[in-house]
């Protein structure tokens, strides 16, 4: 049992992904094509990049369920500015705004000590409502070639989103492992008191983490907008927080904080994306996806608990 638990931590997810790919490839020929496999890899960057910030957040012991709405608001604001400030600036604006929203969440959680889930639940509706109001419920279309090419472009044959995702994960891994900040995030998540006693500024770490959540969501929004060619105040980001949290948890990051698994999140992003497309290609009713993803979330948490219990890790 212990052997399995240890192996799962490192190999479980890639294993699952491999099995998933195998099964779907056998069942569906369009799935098999290298085009679809690669484009799905690209597609997974949408949730993958967004999950990076969330990994940090959950590692530090908090949650953010407002990222879908953050994405929508930042997206519409940024996209609507393309004609006025040009697309590179607009893309940067989107990312900056999303970071700002994350920061606001962080302020509420740290300075006012309101539990993260209710703060972000409330802000989720505020952001979404603002998105509706700003656009008077009409989608914002992107016609600018540069922005559109983000999603479809490629460098040396590798699609740009994949490169971007790899870059983001690499940067995040570096920060986590090689900077004091990374250590602080883990410390705050695993034992807030001890972290404080060691002189760590817990409030600052938490605010930074929430800002990071926004930052990565902003990047993901830019890519998503590129794919869809538009940002829709109602549709963009719907259910995003749910899928991202599922990915983070499935990837092995413990909800209790401290133990984070960025690579796991990466594979989980692949898993979820391939699962959804695979089901779609098999003509399975898309509503089953809802059921499936919900199960995966609860299942993932359950698995994490079993693993923690078996390995005797501290479980709050």
């Amino acid at each position: 049992m212990v052997w399995a638990a240890n192996r799962w931590e490192n190999f479980g997810l890639p294993f699952l992904v491999a099995i998933l790919l195998l099964v779907f490839s056998l069942l569906s020929s369009p799935f098999r094509s290298s085009y679809s496999l690669v484009s799905n890899l690209s597609f997974s960057s949408l949730v993958g990049i967004g999950s990076i910030g969330m990994v940090f957040c959950i590692m530090s012991g908090d949650f953010d369920i407002s990222i879908g709405s953050m994405s929508a608001l930042a997206g519409v604001l940024g996209a609507s500015m393309v004609t006025r400030i040009g697309s590179p600036a607009a893309m940067l604006l989107t990312i900056a705004l999303a970071s700002l929203f994350g920061f606001v969440n962080g302020v509420f959680v740290t300075k006012l000590r309101i539990p993260a889930f209710i703060t972000t639940l409330g802000m989720q509706f505020v952001y979404r409502a603002l998105a509706y109001i700003y656009t008077t419920n009409t989608p914002v279309y992107i016609e600018d070639k540069l922005w559109l090419s983000i999603g479809s472009g490629s460098v040396l044959g590798i699609p740009f989103p994949i490169l971007l995702m790899a870059l983001c994960f690499a940067a995040a891994l570096y920060v986590l492992r090689k900077t004091p900040f990374g250590r602080y995030v883990i410390a705050v998540g695993t034992n807030k008191n001890a972290a404080m006693l060691s002189g760590i500024n817990v409030d600052f770490v938490k605010m930074a983490v929430f800002t990071l959540v926004g930052f990565f969501v902003g990047i993901a929004t830019v890519v998503t907008a590129s794919y869809l060619g538009s940002v829709n105040p109602g549709q963009t980001g719907q259910g995003y927080e749910f899928r991202v949290i599922t990915i983070v948890v499935l990837g092995g990051t413990a909800l209790t904080g401290g133990n984070g698994n960025l690579l796991g999140a990466f594979f989980a992003a692949l898993f979820i994306t391939y699962m959804e497309t695979g089901l779609g290609m098999l003509q399975v009713n898309s509503y089953w996806q809802y059921v499936a993803t919900g199960f995966v979330l609860i299942f993932a948490v359950g698995i994490n608990r079993v693993k923690s219990a078996v390995l005797g890790q501290r479980d709050t």
């Binding site: 004091p180 695993t190 001890a194 006693l197 060691s198 401290g258 133990n259 501290r314």
Partner: protein
């Protein structure tokens, strides 16, 4: 009820935890309608004994006999059903429910409708119990709004409502005022009059002597003796509690700082519900101990010194300058280190390795470009330094800290503070839960550090540690200074006496 009036008896009761024998072959008995005081230093085994009687632990060896018949409690429920009630220090009350609801929780009388509570009957029954015990309490008030003493009463009432024949009280008066203590005494005597037996655990000998019929002393898990209160006195009891303290087992006296340069001075310091108007000085290179039993305020005093909890009033002077310590960061910046007593909850970072646990406190300084790149080699070098100084045993720097033994974990926590080149070190229970060998090591190490100029202020509830390690020991009782001992004037019996409020006016104490 047996012929001899005996209610409960234990024979050879033993309970072993990894590394320590908590209860060692204890023969103990309680008679019907008696108040039986149970005293002993911390770690003597009292808590474990009552937890066994309360059904929290199963004994490894030995028997428990109730009314002459052997019983075993494999759950707290079974103990309750055998009419034994245990009132723990932390209480098991629901703050948002009323007194009456707390007393009868799970057994509320219902109306004709079945699930609705008959509040009239509930309150009436609760009031009945309270009046028989002469407790002036409003059954409808919420437990959250009543005082600690009143909560004590609710617990007693709860026990009575179960028709308990034996009520075990663990330090019931630790945080009460004089008046409240008197009230509790009244109630306890009342209980005895009604045939209920009480096991009364307390550090305050004067209480034990006033209330109890018999007194049992425990030490190091064993029962030292049981005496009729009428046939003994406090000094005898203290002697039994302390025994022969081995003086040369632990650290020897170090070079006493001749140049008595003050490092830290505390003036007229008060912490809410803890200490009142305290003043003392910590000198360079000395080991100072603050000693006190539960309710003395020592822990909170030290926590406030490090900025963990706020002070009510008073001043702190560090190296001659007045300073403000509002949070741990302020203290760390001054050069004060802190090792908490509660390793698991407040000290260790469980998800991280030994290396990371140690270096977390200075990791910022071990980087290139002000916090961007961690210099691994530098980090390892510092780690190795501490590891050898303290001789921390582990499988490797990458090992998860939770797998280390208690003693080594403590060394890591102490090592963490050493990395900050601190000038003063605050230690709460530095060797709690650590085996004897490691204890001696840590003491030697602290002595060596003090000799090099580090000032140490610690608190401990282990008598040998208090007697042997520090250069000076200040005893606090109920938030005020009770006594002060130097190495020369140290006397274990006087120390214990001062801690429990029984002093002879000497040693700077207020009787």
């Amino acid at each position: 009820m047996s012929a001899t009036g005996e209610l409960l008896r234990t024979e050879g009761l033993t309970k072993v935890f990894p590394g320590v024998v908590a209860v060692d072959g204890v023969d103990f008995d309680v008679r019907v309608g008696e108040i039986h005081a149970l005293v002993g230093e911390n770690g003597a085994g009292k808590s474990t004994l009552i937890k066994i009687l309360g059904g929290v632990y199963l004994p490894d060896r030995g028997k428990i006999l109730l009314d002459g018949k052997e019983v075993a409690f494999s759950s707290t429920h079974q103990s309750q059903e055998s009419k034994i009630a245990v009132i723990y220090q932390e209480f098991n009350l629901v703050p948002d429910l009323s007194v009456a609801e707390n007393i009868f929780i799970g057994r509320e009388p219902k109306t004709a409708f079945g699930t609705l509570i008959d509040f009239r009957r509930l309150n009436a029954r609760a009031a009945e119990i309270l009046t028989t015990l002469d407790m002036p309490l409003n059954v409808k008030s919420f437990v959250a709004d009543i005082s600690v003493a009143e909560r004590q009463m609710v617990e007693i009432a709860k026990a009575l409502s179960h028709e308990s024949r034996l009520i075990i009280m663990d330090e019931p008066t630790a945080t009460l005022t004089e008046k409240e203590v008197r009230k509790i005494f009244e109630i306890v005597k009342n209980l005895r009059a009604r045939g209920v037996s009480i096991i009364y655990i307390s550090h305050r000998l004067e209480e034990a002597f006033e209330l109890a019929d018999r007194i049992t002393v425990m030490r190091d898990g064993r029962k030292v003796g049981t005496k009729l209160v009428a046939e003994t006195n406090k000094n005898d009891v203290i002697e039994m509690m302390v025994g022969k303290v081995v003086k040369d087992y632990f650290a020897q006296a170090g070079a006493v700082a001749d140049s008595r340069q003050p490092l830290l001075e505390v003036r007229n310091y008060s912490v809410a519900d803890a200490v009142e108007d305290i003043s003392f000085t910590l000198y360079k290179g000395e080991i100072l101990a603050l000693a006190g039993i539960l309710g003395s305020g020592v822990h909170r005093m030290l926590q406030s010194l490090f900025g963990v909890i706020p002070k009510k009033s008073g001043e702190i002077f560090f190296e001659g300058r007045k300073v403000n310590i509002d949070r741990p960061r302020d203290a760390i910046r001054l050069g004060i280190g802190y090792v908490t007593e509660d390793r698991k909850n407040a000290g260790l970072l469980p998800a991280m390795s030994v290396l990371h646990n140690l270096t977390i406190i200075i990791i910022r300084a071990l980087t290139f470009l002000r916090g961007l790149f961690i210099r691994d080699r530098e980090e390892t070098r510092r780690f190795e330094g501490i590891r050898t100084t303290l001789d921390i045993k582990m499988a490797g720097p990458g090992q998860r800290i939770i797998y280390l033994s208690g003693g080594n974990q403590q060394k890591v926590l102490i090592g963490r503070t050493l990395l900050t080149d601190c000038k003063a070190l605050i230690l709460l229970e530095p060797t709690r839960g650590i085996d004897v060998g490691a204890k001696a090591e840590i003491h030697r190490m602290l002595r060596a550090l003090a000799d090099k100029g580090l000032s140490v202020i610690l608190t401990s509830s282990e008598l040998p540690e208090l007697v042997n390690l520090p250069d000076r020991c200040i005893v606090l009782y109920k938030g005020r200074k009770a006594a002060e001992f130097t190495r020369e004037t140290m006397d274990s019996e006087k120390l214990v006496a001062a801690q429990i409020g029984h002093s002879d006016g000497q040693n700077g104490a207020r009787p």
